[in-house]
Assembly symmetry: C2
Homo-oligomer: 171 residues x 2
DNA sequence: TTTGACAGTTCGTTTTTAGAACTGTAAACG
DNA sequence: CGTTTACAGTTCTAAAAACGAACTGTCAAA
């Protein structure tokens, strides 16, 4: 598997890693979620080299994760904002932060707290089953090939697909 | 920010990225969750160079994500299995897969389906608030510094911390 | 005796990244 | 006016990381 061919792999994880799976991209996206929009903002917040930053931003725009929008003429300047595709990365971010909060904090405690506007409380993100609403763990999940699986025959009768998106607590 | 200093950053995301944020680690972990345990298994499944694979496995063991367990003497052979810390990466994996399933599939559909043993259905992972059980999105979350935040004064009165772990549907 | 499985290690080449300086436009400073 | 500053990059060289292929060592099977 070549690194630049990840996106053609028949694996949603490999494809996603092709987009966000390098040294800097997730950190850049963290800044996006913290409302950074401009080149200098990213650069000074992260200490990334300007060269790499420019390249990563281009890639994210190409991939539809960020949109590049002019905010002034002469000199032309743009800012980078998350598209819906980018906003949808939020659960990944939260899952990463939560793991760090659980396993990588020092004695001082967690660096950042998250407050849910709807209920007003500081919270942890919990991943649940879209169908029954119960929390998920690796051992409770069984995987099997879907219609887009590798070179198996196109799977005339694909197993039932889950219902669409965040439709929680059917429980 | 230097890449090798990520783990000291006062940011759970940066620290986590210091562990899993490179070209191959997440793919190696995917294999772990798919029950691969041995060197050759990882190597042939991923096509990673043996050199890098050896190094990444060492790093994951050092970090407590994998445990290296002998499965035979003479010649000594070991296999790599997920620790609890490693198993806790599952929500990150699922979030990544789900984003790929949503935004990176081709016309054939998703390559892998996930079935929840408890309820028997194929599902999508949904991230919810630990406190009220509602699905989360970026706009509904407000962040503020916690006790382990950067060089601010140690925050004598830190805001209320969320209740522990997967304690869902207080709703 | 040779071959093969397994788990690495070594080494030379190529690709990425780091680090710093440079480009160009335009407003602000003195 | 001439200089400095803000901003968004681009260019260049050196250093680090990844790739690719071959090599090491132990043991079992052919």
């Amino acid at each position: 598997m070549r690194w630049d061919a990840l996106e053609e792999e028949p694996c949603s994880m490999a494809r996603t890693i092709g987009v966000i799976g390098d040294r800097w991209t997730l950190l850049i996206l963290r800044e996006c979620f913290l409302r950074t929009r401009r080149f200098e903002g990213f650069q000074s917040a992260l200490g990334i080299t300007r060269h790499l930053l420019a390249e990563r931003l281009k890639k994210l725009v190409r991939q539809g994760v960020l949109r590049r929008i002019p905010y002034q003429e002469s000199p032309k300047r743009h800012e980078y904002i998350l598209t819906q595709k980018g906003l949808d990365l939020y659960p990944i971010m939260m899952a990463i932060v939560h793991w760090g909060d659980t396993h990588m904090v020092d004695e001082r405690g967690r660096p950042l707290l998250h407050q849910h506007r709807k209920c007003g409380k500081n919270f942890d993100p919990v991943m649940v089953c879209s169908e029954c609403g119960e929390p998920l763990s690796a051992k409770e999940v069984h995987t099997h090939p879907g219609p887009g699986a590798r070179s198996t025959t196109p799977a005339t009768k694909a197993p039932e697909k889950p219902k669409a998106k965040p439709r929680r607590s059917a429980a």
